[in-house]
Amino acid sequence: MIRPELVCPAGTPSAMRTAVDAGADAVYCGFQNATNARNFPGLNFTVPELEKSVAGAHAHGTKVLLAVNTFPPAGKVDLWKEAVDAGSRIGVDAFIVADIGVADYIHRTHPDIRLHLSVQAAASTPEAIRFYCREFNVKRVVLPRILTVPEIRDMAAAIPCEVETFIFGNHGLMVEGRCSLTNYITGLSTNMDGVCSPAADVQYIRDDAGNMTTRLGAFTIDCFSCSENAGYPTICKGRYQAAAHEGPYYAFEEPISLNLSALLPDLMSAGVTALKIEGRQRSRAYVKKVVGAFRKAVDSIMAGNDPEIAALIALTEGQKQTEGAFKSKTWR
């Protein structure tokens, strides 16, 4: 079994230090603009911040992967090139990219820096991945969260690059890189602006009976009785009505977290090179807890022992969790 790299979220310089201290083999991050897919207020790095953070991470032997994984709209490509050039100057260990134009720019101008294909590229077949490897010398693919473990095993055997899969965090339901729901409602694009359900368009409205309605832009996404915790209004996690379905329902999926702890040994033996924890928008406390727990679990499996699954399951305590498409194709 390959010792997999634990790839951890770093939404801020302090979260990066926390992840490094908790045992991350690599951290991923982005700049404070549309060039990355978590372009949220209060998140991400300025160029000087990244420079300092990379030096800190490297001093601990932790790699830094820079996400430049959105799709520059025509007329704005320079912002993405500047992000790449800055990352190169700073000495990041790899770029995570989705756009063909951006991948080509890196491949031509910074051929010595590793290229990872972002989940946003939605490369879901060996052919798609081989294309990116052939054209841009991609070294690793982050697989879409739509494949089962046996499918991942087949994939890893069929492609000439490393495989990274998500193991924990937000459970994205739409194929990443192929969703414009947020743009349809708010005018900001997930692909072009790096935002999903932007906070500025979110409203929580409590009625006299204590029910909480959540809205995004002009539309109601969900309504929670006073006994429920109101979730963040992400379009694909809302409740809607359809003639074919009795009563309001989660038309896409319940708000639920991805937790593949129980599948960890299977994933590792399937040839996965890197295990990714989602959550650049999460707190330092969260990063510390989750990274620490998965560090222990991975080390334990490598030592031939059973991981303490219970500790990992407890990470999502109080929340529903799923193994999503990874466990079985009945999810589809």
Partner: protein
């Protein structure tokens, strides 16, 4: 304006699961009566639907060709399963077929063969367009969410590369794809035992918000806008920026009548205002939208304002 300079009208692949007879009737009418230049055939959304119509492609293509239409075969937008990978490989094999691809899996097979790039491929900028043109792409149908400011730059880039461009000007916009079938889910089924419930909704399945407002449309693994994109007032700007083709997405409404309206506006025989009034008589079951074009929320319809060519 000389006829040869008119923007070309295209019919997008049918996104919905219509039965074979309905599709045959649709294409026969389009072949005989619709003033369109290009017609896309092929199943783009769900590989499970494909076998129902496969045996008719040759007949339909021949009929459309006889009607003077250029026939383009559009490929699957989401490719995962071995069966789907085989479909892509077989369509991409060398042949005379004009191919529009909608997933990057196809790119692996296409070396040395010309191809068209569908709107479900992520071509947002001039660098990506130039790269794919270098691989043999001859035509780019731009993503539905791309704003006019970027479309103008891509149209100019295309011209310099010697390739052509297209934007959707009518019909529901594709907003998202998923591995999960949301049609099956609404019926408490999963994709593997869906029993083709999507056939019950020939214009897609409406999703309403909890306060009963029309919101989105489910079409199998695809989520679409409830609103119909309508860029009639913007057609002149689209032409002026150098976009060569405009696309109509098929719905159950009278697509021949709709294509005539767009054709007359393109030909300068009908003002956009008059066209709008005629379109209003055709029972379109949802509001119109153009928000994406103006960089606004996609569901909105903004008053026409000219966007400069690049």
């Amino acid at each position: 304006m000389a006829v040869s300079e008119l923007m070309k009208l295209t019919i997008a692949p049918i996104p919905f699961h219509w039965d074979a007879q309905t599709k045959l009737d649709f294409y026969a009418r389009i072949a005989d009566e619709a003033p369109v230049d290009v017609v896309h055939i092929g199943e783009v959304i769900c590989s499970k639907r494909a076998p129902f119509f496969e045996k008719h492609y040759d007949t339909v293509a021949e009929r459309l060709t006889r009607g003077g239409k250029t026939v383009v075969f559009s490929t699957l937008a989401e490719v995962m399963l071995p069966r789907e990978r085989k479909m892509i490989a077989s369509y991409c094999a060398p042949s005379e077929l004009l191919l529009e691809i909608n997933d990057s899996s196809a790119l692996w097979h296409l070396e040395g063969r010309p191809f068209r790039v569908g709107p479900l491929m992520n071509v947002y900028n001039e660098a990506t367009m130039a790269y794919l043109a270098g691989l043999g792409a001859t035509h780019f149908s731009l993503p539905a969410e791309l704003p006019a400011s970027s479309a103008a730059i891509l149209a100019a880039t295309a011209k310099s590369l010697g390739v052509t461009t297209e934007v959707q000007v009518f019909g529901r916009a594709s907003l998202a794809l998923s591995a999960r079938c949301y049609h099956a889910r609404a019926h408490n089924r999963i994709k593997d035992n869906c029993q083709f419930v999507c056939e019950e909704d020939p214009d897609g399945m409406p999703l309403k918000t909890l306060d009963s407002e029309d919101f989105l449309i489910v079409n199998g693994i695809q989520t679409m806008s409830n609103s119909y994109v309508n860029l009639l007032p913007e057609l002149e700007d689209i032409r002026d920026m150098g976009i060569t083709h405009v696309r109509l997405v098929p719905h159950t409404q009278d697509m021949v009548a709709i294509s005539r309206i767009f054709h007359r506006v393109i030909a300068g025989d009908l003002s956009p205002d008059e066209a709008e009034r005629t379109l209003a008589t055709l029972n379109i079951p949802a509001p119109f939208s153009n928000g994406f074009w103006y960089g606004a929320p996609g569901h909105q319809r903004l008053a026409h304002k000219p966007v400069a060519a690049a």
